[in-house]
Symmetry: none
Subunit: 146 residues, 2 copies
Amino acid sequence: MFTGWSIHALDAKGRLAIPARFRDVLRDEGDERLVLTTSERCLVAYPYNEWRAVADKVSRLSRVDPKVLAFRRYFISGATESLCDKQGRVLIPQPLRELAGLDGQVYLVGMQHNFEIWDKDRWYAEREQISANFGDLSSFMADLGI
Amino acid sequence: MFTGWSIHALDAKGRLAIPARFRDVLRDEGDERLVLTTSERCLVAYPYNEWRAVADKVSRLSRVDPKVLAFRRYFISGATESLCDKQGRVLIPQPLRELAGLDGQVYLVGMQHNFEIWDKDRWYAEREQISANFGDLSSFMADLGI
DNA sequence: AAGAGTTACCCCACAATTCCCCACTTATTA
DNA sequence: TAATAAGTGGGGAATTGTGGGGTAACTCTT
């Protein structure tokens, strides 16, 4: 499981260090490949197999249905397979960097089955946002029996 | 599979570089021909065989049904076969360039079986649009566990 | 039918990016 | 406080992308 936050710097070449404990998770699962994908305001990193399952399902859906196209465009199209270099970094493709507004300080956020990559300011803004709607969340959680 | 985004410049002659990883997909399938077609706000590029499958199906449909005619006009009629030059570029025919509003920065977007070619501003507008109608997509997301 | 202008296609040269190293600094652990 | 691990920075080769010249084909005009 991916848990905890890390702050790392995105270097001038667009590389981002992956925290050792995240890399350990990958190694323990026997496949160090990572897939970077886009989400709304951040990037999401999946272990390769985890992502494969999703991508395979989607690939079998319609090639013309507008809803499927929208979904594919939004969540699938950006997926980029990558490997850590010897120093444990991945190169974030320029368009993904741009989408997620990454520069300078980056937050890596464990989300159990995957982890997210946030620009620092956006990450704090996101938490603000969530906390503004906290009431709704709590009742939602309560419904789930948590 | 075509995945990931690339940003390339459309040069003064209307040529567009195809990312190396997309060209690899074509080469691996043993047929480097590409078919460019029109879609709603962007262009779509198919490997030749993939396109053939679509075009063959449509060719067997009615020659008079207005819906089929409309579909044919919209998605089929603009199809243009083309090959990459030695530098890995294709020439985008001027009418298609115009239709998709391409100039300057162009996004190439992997859509699994094919890839789309977007004007940068339109691409971001499209994402906005999708995210505004997120409700439509929730069924997929639930299905896929995203 | 000939000539001017445009467009497409081939080529080469340069620029930018990516990839693969190695070295240094900062944390962590013993 | 040494020893090991983690994270950062940067050099240099290889790959990828960009710009542009020159010739051939094609269109349009006269």
